[in-house]
Symmetry: C2
Subunit: 190 residues, 2 copies
C-alpha cells in the first residue's frame, strides 16, 4: 500500500535493533484519515469473504480494528492482556511470548462474544515473530469459530512471523512488508 509506505518513509523512525517507531501516526498519536485508507484497503483485500467479527488485541490494534470495522459492518472484539485473572470457564485464554519485552502474558476474550458460527478477521498493527497473531488465532479455534484471515499494517518480513502464519494456511495480508531496514539506509520493502 503505497500511501502507507510513503508515510513510513516520511515519519517512521528507525532505531537500533530493528525497531521501527511509528508512534506519530499509528500507535500513540493516530492519523484517522490514514486509518480510514487502511480500513478500505483491508476491505478490498478481503473482498468477497464472509466476515462476522473483527478480532484484535489491546491497545493499538483497537484503533485499526474499529476504523476498519466500518467498512465490514461488523462488531470488533479486542482481546485483553492479563497478568492475573483467569476466570475459568468464562474466557478463552492463550499465552503469548513477547520477544521484544522478554516476557509471557495471557490474552483473553469472553466466551460469550466469540461463537462457533463466527467468521473472524484478525487485525493488528505489527507482525514480527507472529506470537500475538498465533495467540489470537488459538482463541478463535478454541471457540470452534473460523479464522477467515489476518490483516497486518506493517510486517517485518525479516522475522519469522509471516512465514509461520502463512504455513498454517491462514490468509495473511500485510499492507507493508519490510524486507530490511537500517538507520543508515532506511526501509526497503518486499
Amino acid at each position: 500500500m503505497q500511501l502507507l509506505k510513503d508515510r513510513i518513509n516520511k515519519d517512521g523512525k528507525i532505531k537500533e535493533g530493528n525497531v521501527l517507531k511509528v508512534d506519530s501516526f499509528l500507535n500513540h498519536q493516530i492519523d484517522i484519515e490514514l486509518l480510514e485508507e487502511i480500513g478500505k484497503e483491508f476491505k478490498r483485500r478481503f473482498e468477497g469473504e464472509e466476515i462476522t467479527k473483527i478480532l484484535t488485541i489491546e491497545a493499538s490494534g483497537i484503533a485499526i480494528a474499529c476504523i476498519a470495522a466500518k467498512y465490514f459492518n461488523v462488531p470488533v472484539l479486542f482481546a485483553k492482556k492479563s497478568k492475573t485473572k483467569n476466570i475459568a470457564g468464562e474466557v478463552y485464554t492463550s499465552k503469548v511470548e513477547s520477544f521484544t519485552h522478554g516476557k509471557v502474558y495471557d490474552i483473553m476474550v469472553s466466551k460469550e462474544f466469540l461463537l462457533k458460527e463466527d467468521k473472524v478477521l484478525i487485525l493488528d498493527d505489527f507482525l514480527a515473530n507472529g506470537q500475538a497473531l498465533l495467540g489470537l488465532s488459538k482463541l478463535v479455534e478454541d471457540a470452534g469459530a473460523t479464522v477467515v484471515g489476518a490483516g497486518i499494517v506493517i510486517e517485518k518480513g525479516f522475522q519469522v512471523g509471516g512465514e509461520l502464519i502463512r504455513k498454517q494456511g491462514i490468509h495473511l495480508e500485510s499492507l507493508a512488508i519490510i524486507e530490511k531496514m537500517s538507520v543508515e539506509d532506511g526501509v526497503t520493502y518486499r
Copy 2:
C-alpha cells in the same frame, strides 16, 4: 442520549458493588454503529469549539476516541498506562489512583505529540471518581495546552468524579448520567 440509555437498559449488566458491565457493546466487544452515533453526539455537544486533538487513555477509550475523531477531523492521542519506564524529559506523566483496582499507575504521553498550541478534547468511556480524567487533564496542562472539554459516555453520577471535574471549570458532557443503580431496580438516569 436516549439511544445509549436504551442500549444500557437492554444489554448492560448490573453487578453487586455498583458495577455496570457494558462489555457486550462498549469496552470488550464494540458496536461500531453505536460508537458512530456517540461520536456524532460529542460533535454536536462541542459544536463551535476549536479542537485540534482528541486525547484518551488506553484501552477502551481508544475505540471511542478514534470513531469520534472522524467527526472532528483531528488526530487522536492515547495516553499509555505504564508501571515501569518514565523516560525523563521525553514524556509528560501523571499518577492515577484506581479505586476499582486499588492501585496507583502512571499514565504518559510523548511530549512531541502534545503542543502548547493544542486545543484538546478528552474522551473516555466511564467517569466515576474522576481520577483518570484529572490525570489526563494534568498532562494537557503540563504541555501548556488547553483542555477544551471532556466527553464521557457513561458517568456514575453517584460518585464524586463529575462534581470534581465541573468544579475545575472543565466543560464536561456525559451522554448518560446514572443517578442510581441496583441489581433489583436497574438503572435510573439523571
